[in-house]
Amino acid sequence: MTLAPEADESELRAVFEATIERHDRIEPRDWMPEAYRKTVIRQVAQHAHSEIIGMQPEGNWITRAPSLRRKAILLAKVQDEAGHGLYLYSACETLGVSRLELTEMLINGKQKYSSIFNYPTLSYADVGTIGWLVDGAAICNQVPLCRTSYGPYGRSMIRICKEESFHQRQGYELLATMMRGTDEQREMVQESVNRFWWPALMMFGPPDDDSPNTAQSMAWGIKRNTNDDLRQRMVDMTVPQAKALGVTLPDPELRWNEERQSHDFGSPDWDEFKDVITGNGPCNTQRIAHRRRAHEDGAWVREAAMAFAARGAEA
């Protein structure tokens, strides 16, 4: 953690603001306002936690993957998520918080993760739908973040976005293959899309007029677009893909608006969103309990590794 002598603060603040102004990167050793640091930590940690918690709903199907090829794809994907978590925790550590502290904030409910992972995965089609819609939404969210002002975060995002688009294509491809399969498989896909469509749109966060942090985050260049902008982009991107797949998006209000050259669409159930955000979603307790158990079960191994390393350092 860099400590700035109080005397220099106004000068340092000017440098910081100029950097932001130029759309340049803030680096770990640079001075930054405490509120900026906290906001970046919050956002990056939330993103890291989402990757780690996100391993569970898809990981749920690794042992039941219906073909060896799909098993390999899924296992590699979930492994990538662990990798993303790793980069992002490292990015967070450049701001002076350890992975252990972050993990404890996650399992004590002091930091959040994306609400989408509080929905259950109920069929193998969900693996495809998560790739297509959830990773799709993540990409909409994350591509602008490659230009985010905090350097280590932005650079992590570049690598992560590449892998996410790969995952998104794989998800789409799984659904496309299933749609060419049996009637039962087509039903599985449609049923899965019905469940995930709205939660995917809710991934962009509350409507702009109900999103208190957006303005400051945009001013600091941590966030680059508003929630509603990104949501619209997602809908416009997805509608033609759904058509190509042959699935129906479960929104009777969805239609092309010639004037706006964009799609009109219905409003997600924001009450459900708040329910899930506040911890009552179908899987919140389960996800955290799983993470906590894994963390606690692994404590003796981490302790052994530290003790062993310490002994090596002595010798």
């Binding site: 060896l68 799909r70 296992l75 979930v78 293959t177 399969g181 049996t182 894994a294 302790e303």
Partner: protein, 263 residues
Amino acid sequence: THELATYCLMLADDALVMSHRLSQWCSNAPDLEEDIALANIALDLLGQARLLLARAAAADPSVVPALPAGSPVPPEDALAFFRGDREFRNVRLVETDNGDFAVTIARLLLFSTWRLALLQRLAASRDHVLSAVAIKGVKEMTYHRDYAGRWFLTLARGTEESRRRLIAGLEATWPLRAELFTTHPVELAVAGSGVGVDPSTVADEVDVLLEQVFSMSGVDRPDIAPLAGVRGETGRDGLHTEAFSRLLAEMQVVARAHPMGSW
């Protein structure tokens, strides 16, 4: 030939089932690095299994379970998902429950040291597919063995608890070791024709390597009798543990619900 196909199934099933057990660690490992490493090892073994299942199907299509006419399920999947437990030829070592991280590491050390030795010899197989699979596999297994060896040492020399758990894990695994070096008639036959490896011929070499790890770790070689089979049959004969049919029930459930499915 049927013998070659059966031999390929043995090698494939060892890798497939071990991969399954390792994949169960996903999101459950002691740290992210271990989540990633164990998934990597599981992926390598899954890759080996796929090549070997395909080779088995090519060597003798009659080993592939029959599916309804027009089913798009490829042979590797028909073999993985539509055989019953009595038709799997893996050693029992790979199929028992994971236990804690120490059991997993002890098992992985035994498994990877043994399989590395087998694949090193199999690289010279007269069967070009097996030889190619083995050459690729040797690199992978070397990493797996090093990983397991490093953790074995770390747990043995880490804390009192980790040492206690490691020794318990090794002792839990040890009774399944003898089976690795017991030659099945099919292995004898393929070894005779220069296509396969008689596992009894790698026993000494594996023992020497294990002794090195044990001695660095300050762990005694366990003195525990091998797990008996039933009427002399063990994993290679399709005689498995109670855990195995439960493993298959989970692994095969989606595939079997959709014998005409495309994935």
